[in-house]
């Protein structure tokens, strides 16, 4: 179960693992936690395709980083970074497949005064959404760069993951 004293940073991967590139957010976190040890104050969460149910995990979170597949009408693998108020504004336009759940969660957090101080979204343009556990090649190629981006963001927030010796 979640730590009673909630961590300061939540890395939230969102998406459906069974629909190939839809699962990119979860795959990034999977790579991150298998190659790095996260400091205690950082929690990586597989949010699946849930929305409001994730509100519980926002309690006490100061920094929220969301990683998701995002339809931008661009080349598969294209990357988008948004922060602050851009995130809910963008999601309310219903571009992400999870656009209902995550904006509801953020809005509810606002209503209940647990909205994180910093919110960042990394979005990846999917190529394939066919039923499959594999990512398509252009999306697979973005996993390591995205892990590096997440690490950079964590360092900016004052947390330093340490590489695992595997």
């Amino acid at each position: 179960m979640a730590d009673e004293s909630a961590p300061r940073t939540l890395l939230l991967g969102v998406g459906n693992l069974l629909l190939s590139d839809e699962g990119v957010g979860l795959r990034v976190l999977e790579r991150l936690v298998t190659t790095y040890d996260l400091p205690e104050e950082v929690q990586a969460l597989d949010g699946g395709t849930l929305g409001l149910d994730l509100l519980y995990y926002l309690e006490g979170v100061e920094n929220l980083l969301i990683i998701d597949a995002v339809e931008m009408g661009k080349q598969p693998g294209a990357i988008l970074r948004l922060e602050g108020d851009e995130v809910p504004a963008f999601l309310t336009l219903k571009i992400s497949p999870h656009q209902i759940g995550i904006p509801d969660m953020l809005f509810a957090a606002k209503l209940r005064d647990i909205y994180p101080r910093n919110v960042v979204l990394w979005g990846v343009q999917p190529g394939s959404l066919e039923p499959s556990l594999e990512l398509s090649p252009p999306i697979q190629a973005q996993i390591d760069p995205l892990v590096a981006e997440v690490i950079g963001q964590l360092e900016q927030w004052g947390s330093t993951p340490s590489p695992r010796n595997v």
């Binding site: 069974l18 994730l54 309310t92």
Partner: protein, 566 residues
């Protein structure tokens, strides 16, 4: 005649789309379509059946654990496994907590705003709101200061333009009937339900290991250890914590949710005569007792005939694809899930399009039928089957709600009945949760820590070929998984999910699905603002309830409401 289309258009994957024809302010025809193909079952072919549940819990983002439970039950049925008593109790607790959690969230966050006008709440008098709240419940948060604070907060949100989901609505629509004070009270409870949900989520975490995706299921039982002497198992402390969380949750259900439903319903009694639907109800039964009998009884009701409960045999379930974008060798005949096929055959128009070709295939949802009839599933089916079979808690609680509202059982066959049945179910299951926690404590006290039956774990002990099905009654109703195992691997896997029953399109005989039938006869005050359609569709708690939310952020229309004059 006008045709109204409600469809979220900008998603990567489309979800639920409703088209209705309106004549003289009344819905005369309706079509329910899912514009999304998933076919996720195909991923399971060739896999180890013991792992299937971990994949099936990803079928759907809204209902994770329910697919895990149906899956392990299907494999256990195929292999002839009986789970230990503790596993039975833990599964009842996990499933029961899902009902309590989801129903409260559904009522306040997915359905209430169909009945409650937030903008009107800004006109409420906080002292009168306090009087109203205290007249219907002992819930402590009921002072005029409290309601004043809520009103100020909502006003600040409205003034700042950060409306979020509140921007979606038809505020001021003539179908909103509540006085301003009732609206303010309901908005306050909308906010409280968010806190309630955060607190109650701890119960899932206690029971399930990793939340939100549980790790605790196993074919043959559970993996959550029970041991009063271990800090890493369910122990006496966990039992006390579970009891406390459940008692707290039940207080909210009994002092807020139920009184709210009873207070709002009298303003909308006309909705006890709207949204009836197919009039057939199916419940697989669930929540096994220690003696193997089902606490929620199984049964089917045809043509609203509560005097004639029909036994459920899974052999009598079959799915048509006549109006669905799949092909069978003969599209006019249905197939049982054991031999079910998922061969996509999209024949619809290329997007963007105005409306579907509803004479032909028009949905990615198949049309499941029981004894060749469309069936409604969900809390109303649970309550009606329980009522008809004389289940004690269901009969008495349903009876007392009907008495309070001054209506007979026929009022249940409606949009309002569906919403009331969901609340009644929450009350009943919430109380039963406390009993199950007690059962678990009792087993622990007797030194029974068994959670897994492992005699059939090793595939060497399996028959070369076997088939099984797993039934579960999650919050949205009848869920079935069917598995065919051959040479230790999954040969075929089919899931018939609750929203497939309810969102079903027409079948080969032209019979409408439950959503479609329920919309016929619905009055529409303003075709540009089809609030009445949303009420009935939301009363079913569509798994994709979100899909028929009508979001509109500051004039940027993001969900398509098209009205075509005809």
């Amino acid at each position: 005649m006008a045709r109204i289309v409600i469809d979220p258009i900008t998603r990567i994957e489309g979800h639920l789309r409703i088209e209705v024809e309106v004549e003289d302010g009344i819905v005369t025809n309706a079509w329910s379509s899912s514009t999304m193909w998933r076919g996720i079952e195909t991923i399971l072919k060739g896999r180890d059946p013991r792992e299937a549940w971990a994949f099936t819990q990803r079928f759907c983002g809204v209902c994770t654990t329910v697919h895990a439970l149906a899956s392990v039950r299907a494999v256990e049925n195929a292999l002839g496994i009986e789970v230990p008593n503790n596993a039975r109790i833990l599964r009842n607790l996990i499933a029961g907590s899902q009902h309590v959690h989801d129903h409260v969230i559904h009522f306040y966050h997915l359905h209430a705003l169909d009945w409650v006008d937030i903008v009107s709440a800004l006109d409420a008098d906080s002292i009168a709101t306090s009087d109203l709240a205290q007249s219907i419940s002992d819930w402590p948060k009921s002072s005029s200061d409290y309601f004043q604070g809520v009103q100020d907060r909502i006003r600040a949100f409205v003034d700042s333009g950060q409306l979020g989901p509140f921007a979606n609505a038809y505020w001021g629509h003539s179908a909103y009937k509540l006085p301003a004070e009732a609206n303010l009270m309901a908005v306050a409870h909308y906010l409280e339900a968010l806190d309630w949900q955060r607190e109650y989520a701890r119960i899932h975490a206690l029971l399930g290991g990793k939340n939100p995706h549980l790790q605790t299921f196993l074919v043959g039982g559970m993996s959550t250890p029970i041991d009063p002497n271990s800090q890493h198992a369910l122990n006496a402390d966990s039992i006390a914590l579970l009891q406390g969380l459940q008692a707290q949750a039940n207080q909210f259900v009994q002092q807020v949710y139920l009184p709210d439903v009873l207070a709002v319903a009298p303003f909308y009694l006309d909705w006890a005569g709207i949204g009836e639907g197919v009039g057939n109800y199916l419940c697989y039964g669930d929540f096994p007792d220690a003696d193997g009998s089902l606490w929620f009884p199984a049964g089917a009701i045809m043509n609203q005939d509560l005097a004639n409960l029909i036994p459920v045999d899974h052999e009598e379930i079959a799915e048509y694809v006549t109006h669905s974008w799949y092909s069978y060798d003969d599209d006019s005949l249905p197939k049982h899930p054991y031999v079910g096929e998922t061969n996509p055959n999209y024949t619809g128009p290329q997007p963007p399009y105005d409306y579907l070709e509803t004479d032909g295939k028009y949905s990615w949802v198949k049309a499941p039928r029981f004894r060749d009839e469309p069936m409604e599933v969900g809390p109303l089916a649970h309550m009606l089957v329980g009522y008809a079979s004389g289940q004690e808690e269901i009969q008495s609680t349903v009876g007392s709600v009907l008495d309070t509202l001054g209506v007979g059982p026929e009022a249940l066959f409606s949009t309002l009945g569906r919403t009331a049945a969901r609340c009644i179910e929450t009350v009943i299951i919430g109380n039963k949760m406390s009993e199950w926690i007690g059962e678990l404590a009792g087993a622990m006290a007797e030194g029974d820590y068994a959670i897994h039956e492992n005699s059939m774990w090793d595939p060497e002990n399996w028959p070369a070929e076997t088939m099984g099905y797993g039934f579960h009654e999650p919050p949205r109703g009848a869920l079935g998984h069917w598995v065919h195992i051959k040479d230790k691997k999954i040969e075929n896997y089919q899931a018939v999910v609750p929203s497939t029953w309810n969102a079903s399109p027409r079948d080969a005989n032209g019979k409408m699905g439950p959503y479609e039938a329920a919309l016929i006869g619905t009055p529409i005050a303003n075709p540009e603002m089809p609030l009445e359609v949303l009420r009935t569709i939301h009363s079913f708690d569509p798994c994709l309830a979100c899909a028929v939310h009508v979001l509109d952020a500051e004039g940027r229309e993001v969900t398509q409401i098209n009205v075509y004059p005809g």
